[in-house]
Symmetry: D2
Subunit: 349 residues, 4 copies
């Protein structure tokens, strides 16, 4: 029972098969192959409009190059305090955007609170060079807390972005999980709500290594080919990413995988809710689940072979965890089975 | 007949198979899996000593992070004028090393001339802050001209590096091709000759995407984990690189593939030498071949379906190409067959 | 009555005279003149040991180059939430240190609380690449709140720095004001307490433009000459800075000026304490004073010709300011006279 | 007799006096004083149109921030092989422009040869990400060889810049010397010839420390306030620069000083031409003179107290210097007198 992370899984069989199938023959390098073009076209279809797509190797790359592309000197980007960009990327976003700053914004359950966001932006008055200048807002969908921003919640943030002339970036490392949780189309979850740039993740949802930086407005992408190459993210055998995405989109595989992962999380949450030894810190419709358990039980679970991370509760949730309690993080993926979940729930007692 | 580049090939069947075989099950992410460990051990064995290995996604990443790891403020690195780092990486080495500079060094057939190298270094006297300070020497093995530095040639450069206290980096995007051309062990071609850091390439030699930054002295690598992560080059499902390298090293596959590619190049060169319509610009023992042909013949070859790049002759070879002549670059790989070569030679007439 | 900032004053007459006196004749450029050497020797004397001194043009430069000199990839430096480095330098410290991050540490009256500092550092466990790595602690002395860290308070922070292997930087834009407030020698306020690097400010204390980056351990400064030059902070006519410092140190002028400025602040604070229309937010022994007044009175004072900034209260002091009240910042300098102070106090009523 | 450099002189008496005169009283910091505004207006008048002016501390800063303001990812700027930006700034231009590259362009007597410039630009075909992309052309006026580009020569380079969509930057560390040598107005030497940005130097021409980054089209300067502040080049007591420029422009002092320096150089050149022991490497109408003398004579001159630099001849002039000969560089300034010159010429014999 491995719930450590969705990136502990390998590759979905259909994606592995696609990679094998495309391993023969010659194809133009550096993203110029027919397969690259086909997949770029898939992105256009998915977003319902022409978009600019750049394959990269990691989610950190997608996020960092997004900020690099909209960089301003002395720039400040706003993100949730627990966001991956600020908590888990070793300063890559700052490095790639020439030293711009990330400012943490508080909010419950992994989501920026619009009023707090406004207050943080207000600390950087227009033209006041000492403080620096606002440069972007970036939100994570689904969040690091397994929650998802509703369309209204995204709209509220987008409105703030537009009011301040700031591009809105969505870190979609778990884009598909959010999408199926909300039952929206990609366009409905982004274009229609004022999102400008998406880090579109495939890796956590069944690919080996397939991430895309998507500019919903191609006009924002004029410098992106150079930004990507300069960042050492232009792959020579680019079709190895394209082949993964090709299978990913085929017959909606990506949505099926996300639905499965979310369903496994829902099954976990249902079991936890029924258990007398654990409770949920909060409900989370995507593929991450955060139970609170007695610390001794956490050790027992580990001893019995369950794998997961004990999780530092977010600042806003610290009060939920009692003195002898521990918060866990359980992540599900395409490789999680009902059996894994049921065994874990049984262990929980 | 595709001779455009070795990165137009896909993945060697054994490598594709390994990737499929490792696609199931769970494994620790971010390079902590047993397979990652096993492959790191393979690197130790190959180099005959403990080394520090960091998987990355592109050769540009390996080169750039090597320079980042040995970065000095106002630093200047010396490379051949036609080296990949200076000619083909969109400034990535400079970007990742905080604006350090690459200084081109002249020399015939893709190899730095030691006397010229000395003269260039001398332009940066010790402690003279206005000019900046020497920081590294980087050589490409095999070179962009398909040639290889002999042990004596590497030793001559290494001696200069040591005299000036400079680390010596080897861009080994085609490391295996050089190795088998020289019939040396990895240790003989690097450690024994004073090389400090190697960009160890697998992609051009039959992998999809498998590059490694190898510090021959682990003491030089203390900051490298952070440098790699900050560069967005730490892959979550790192075993997808490990699985490629695992097959790559199995039973010396990597050397067999390189021998094949070089042999195909030798076959091409033999055919060209025999042709009355073409001649070699220079002999090149690795997997790149540079014929000079009448410009009209180049067009004919293309029209008949041969694919290759017309190549701007290096500055030092410009005089070799006549007014109505064109230099071609022909690259061979695991996917090149004797048939491909023979067809091309036949077309040549 | 101008209390906006100590940088609204010009140059102290003795410093202006020194600059005039040194304006004739020839002298070696780029810091190599006899006068530069003499002033460097003064720094050695002041700190009671051999130090490495680099003149720069702004306090932001001194702070930024200090962090650049101790840079680590993915590095994180800890400072007070209101510190100049994080609040007023437009991201220069991050830019010059290749995208390293500043993490705000809370604490009352402008001083980092050691327990909070420890907790923030603990968020970056050793070797955990995702979070980044601690790289420095930087404290401001005197603080942006006009307060000064006591020797014990510095020692507590220094102890944490040493425990984590972190260099300790002191932003001494108002070094002299702190020094005379504590009645310590420079060595007692730095070397003896474990400070490693000092941004030594002269500008706010009567110079035109004279700042120095001082490495108390010269071994930390080996790359600093290149770091300064690369930062465009090596002045050709460097003696124009040396001439200012020469007068600054002559007969303890710098301490006299600081004593005067602090005395003017004390006189202000005494008047405010006596006033029935104003109160001090906190006591501040250096040259900045923070009264809280009715908002209407603030407007009146401005209308009557007093100049100062209305000040956003620090997060930790927000509760001190009532609904119809405003916090002011009053800064005194060599140019502030008793008359200025008394007029202001009279206006206050 | 000191001919080492124009930055070995101090400050012109009128400039020193202005600084003293403005040292009293209070003035708004960070460039917001009336004096700052007045001097900005002087720049508008000098260039005959509204320009955007940013005071900075060094010529290296002006050059580097110019390139930072027009930065492109993977960018490549073209300059003469001996230009200050590439030869004497320790990589500052690359650092401030996020790792962009400087490409040396050959040409006699310090001036880029248009045909060579075109050939170098052609190495970076549009949209070819591997090579990087052209980003700027920068020329030095007067050049490091004491020569000046004629209007036609600037026009030829400007035409190339416009054809490739590249901004044209002029490093005017010795702007005044070139201007009076050509007998042009600032506008005639820049705006009318298609120059976009000027590093306007005062330091070498009699100021202590007064440089300005001038955007001839204010629309190019929208990010410059943040670029300057982030670069630690916004001076708090900015009026100390303004006070220098104020005197500099008063009654054409700057032109008079430049005329004097150039006249002293002409007197030197006349003396050298008449000497049977020395000859000019080339004629140079600005304030730098390059004689070739027997090496033994160079030693003699030094022994007798003359100070100057022995100069490595530029690549294009190496053939001018015989085996036992040495090239010297002699720089004149406001502080050079006819006596200094005549003594030197007498020593020359």
């Amino acid at each position: 029972m491995i719930f450590t992370s969705d990136n502990w899984a390998g590759a979905h069989p259909a994606i592995a098969a696609s990679l094998s199938a495309h391993s023969t023959g010659f194809a133009a390098a550096y993203g110029a192959s027919d397969l690259d073009r086909k997949v770029e076209q898939s992105f256009n279809e998915i977003f319902g409009q022409e978009v600019s797509v750049f394959f990269v190797g990691t989610g950190t790359a997608a996020n960092s190059l997004a900020l690099s592309a909209i960089n301003r000197p002395g720039g400040v980007s706003f993100c949730h305090r627990e966001a991956h960009v600020i908590a888990d990327e070793c300063g890559a976003p700052e490095f790639f955007s020439h030293g711009s700053r990330l400012v943490p914004v508080d909010g419950a359950e992994g989501k920026m609170e619009p009023a707090v966001l406004e207050a943080e932006i207000a600390r950087f008055p227009e033209g006041f060079v000492h403080a620096g200048q606002p440069m972007a807002i970036t939100l994570t969908q689904a969040t690091e807390s397994g929650t998802v921003y509703s369309p209204d919640e995204i709209r509220a943030i987008s409105k703030i972005a537009k009011a301040h002339g700031l591009p809105l970036h969505m870190d979609g490392a778990r884009f598909a999980n959010a999408l199926v949780a909300l039952d929206l189309t990609p366009s409905q979850m982004t274009v229609d709500l004022g999102v400008d740039i998406v880090s579109f993740g495939g890796t956590k949802n069944g690919c080996w290594c397939a991430e895309a930086l998507v500019f919903l407005d191609p006009a924002m992408a004029t410098q992106a080919p150079f930004i990507r190459k300069r960042a050492a993210q232009l792959f020579s055998k680019s079709r190895f990413i394209a082949a993964q995405f090709d299978a990913y989109f085929e017959n909606g595989l990506w949505l099926d995988v996300a639905r499965h992962s979310n369903a496994m999380a829902a099954r976990l949450q249902s079991g936890i809710t029924s258990s007398s030894h654990a409770r949920l810190a909060w409900a989370s419709p995507a593929n991450e689940t955060f139970p609170i358990v007695p610390t001794s039980l956490s050790k027992d679970l580990t001893a019995k072979g369950a794998m997961f991370y004990e999780w530092s509760p977010p600042r806003s949730a610290a009060h939920l965890v009692g003195a002898d309690e521990t918060m866990l993080r359980l992540v599900t993926s395409f490789a999680t089975t009902e059996d894994h979940v049921d065994q874990f729930i049984e262990m929980l007692g």
